[in-house]
Amino acid sequence: MSKPKLELVALRKDYADGSVPAVDGIDLAVQPGETLALLGPSGCGKSTTLNMIVGLESPTSGDIQIDGRSILGVPAGKRNVGMVFQDYAVFTSMTVRKNLAFGLEIRKMPKAEIDRAVHEVAELLGMADRLDARARDLGGSELQRVAIGRTLATRPALLLLDEPLSNLEYAARLAMRRELRRLQQEIGLTIIYVTHDQIEALSLADRIAVMRAGKILQVEQTTTIYDTPDHVFVASFLGSPPMNLLRGNLEAHGQGMLFRIGQFRLQLPPPRPGMAMPRGVTLGVRPESLQVVPAEAAPLVGQVLLAEPRGPEVVLTVESAAVQLKAIAPSHGRPEEGSLVGLAVDPASLVFFSNDTSHRMELC
């Protein structure tokens, strides 16, 4: 693997009021051409991390390196890092053209080159015919395109996107998401993408880093983080509806183990060779891994409390022995609310978390 484009080393940010660190020792490497999504709830330190990378805030300790060189002493404008903000930060007093040329004029680029770069970016974003429009007359997604274009025009080594789509309407958001995906592929930029929208993260990023309370809980390929979350929080944060997390106890039963919460019981295969059976465990199962089957022969039987249609599928809330589970079933032939259904689950799709550490364990 080549040298990482960006490396964060034990990055930490304390604020003056001193209560909790906003960013609590982050280590992260981003490869050239990679798109990494920083995902987490509000206030988890995502934006602070971006601000430190771009140079708007300075870290309390730790290091930030681009291409192996520390950029801590370099002022914001000279780091060659571009940033797009949630609320666009377009200079509405100027035309689109002036906005796109803004960063280049500061770099004292010859006028002909600026013109060429501006046209190139405008072409890329499909705004070539809007160059002389005043920015204040633009709509939301156009504004965001200008903001992205202004940043791209300076050819940053690294592009930071801070919830760039969250102010857009749904349709515009989908369109911009496609557009970003295309830009990524055409330009091959290295991107760090901050969002609290997991669908956005899943659809745009190569890897996802989930943050909580200033710490990165897990960095993983987008394709695997969904199925194998390392931490209870990651499991509960990814997916809509999120993973069912059942905190209960295990006991040996016949050939395998029995998972219990009160009267709720689920028969499990035996632990892997060499794994001791823990007493307390949190069992995680994705709603789409639960199959609705006839109640008669099912390992789990419950009553449908709620059926929420979502177009082609329906989200069922099923109560079985006082434990509520979400399951996704096809809309076609869905069970009525109040009816009894059976649920089947493939043990291979189950994940287990230690009740002590909240981390995942390879139990069976």
């Binding site: 771009v54 708007l56 940033m83 666009y88 930060a89 377009v90 200079f91 509405t92 803004f102 960063g103």
Partner: protein
């Protein structure tokens, strides 16, 4: 945008409001062109049958009104007009530029504490009459009474709370990110404010400037207690048209008042497009 048709009730109410607002203006313009005999005639003369410009002439040639047998005006208004022009323009420029600095400072570089802005505002919590006397004493000790420097200083100081607070609200409405974006693009902090912040709140700056100018232009208390012979302003001069022999020279007062309205109307007209933007400022598109 096209004009909506007014409902009849709204039209009547607005007509009444306009009549109440504009009647004094009408009356003062009429008085300004009345000869002395019509000034306080009874019954009142609404529109003079023989309009005259003698009142305007008298402003700059105090003897002119003598043609109507009225005497006692000793001083030309020239000095007062220039005094007002000079003091108001310079003091407004000072007040707005310092106000802009403090507004940006408080909003962008403050620690979020409300104390500094409140201390600035506290300057307006006393009636001018209460602080006029201490100012006269301080100014006479440092030789600033009866001088434009002193007058400008006190005008700028007295309006600074307003300019700071007005501009502060405009800067607050401007997302901080636009300045950060400019800095990421390579601008220094100062240049980010000059090229991004200030152009974006231009409407607010114009609105504030007009407001502060009106305050300074019509200020009376401070200029009265600080002016003896060297300096004068229009409001002080207005009060001087009360003579021992002919009573109050209403026509001449009205003429000066009409003259004093002109620059305000002109300014208002010139920057009206910015005013609308300034007043409805939330218009920075999110």
């Amino acid at each position: 945008m096209h004009a909506k048709k007014l409902s009849p009730l709204l039209a009547v109410v607005m007509g009444l409001a306009l009549a109440v607002t504009l009647f004094p203006v009408f009356w003062i313009v009429m008085t300004a062109i009345k000869p002395p005999t019509d000034w306080n005639a009874s019954p009142a003369i609404w529109i003079p049958s023989e309009p005259t410009h003698i009142n305007f002439l008298t402003l700059f040639d105090p003897e002119a009104i003598g043609a109507y047998g009225v005497g006692g005006v000793s001083q030309s208004a020239t000095k007062a007009v220039w005094g007002s022009v000079r003091a108001s323009i310079i003091a407004t420029a000072l007040s707005v530029s310092i106000g802009l600095l403090s507004a940006i400072g408080i909003t962008r570089y403050g620690n979020g504490s409300k104390i500094a802005p409140l201390v600035i505002l506290s300057g307006r919590m006393f009636p001018p009459a209460a602080i006029a006397v201490p100012f006269v004493i301080i100014f006479s000790n440092v030789g600033l009474t009866d001088s434009y420097v002193g007058l400008i200083a006190i005008y700028a100081a007295a309006t600074l709370p307003f300019s700071t607070w007005m501009l502060k609200s405009f800067v607050e409405d401007l997302p901080r990110e636009v300045e950060e974006a400019a800095m990421i693009d390579g601008r220094s902090r100062l240049m980010a404010h000059l090229t991004v912040t200030i152009p974006l709140i231009r409407g607010g700056i114009f609105a504030t400037t007009l407001f502060i100018f009106i305050l300074n232009w019509s200020e009376f208390m401070f200029s009265l207690v600080l002016s003896y012979t060297n300096i004068s302003t229009i409001p002080v001069q207005l009060a001087r048209y009360v003579t021992a022999t002919a009573g109050t020279l209403y026509g001449v007062q009205a003429a000066l008042a009409v003259l004093a309205m002109v620059p305000l109307m002109l300014m208002g007209y010139l920057i009206q497009s910015h005013l609308a933007r300034g007043m409805t400022f939330g218009a920075i598109k999110q």
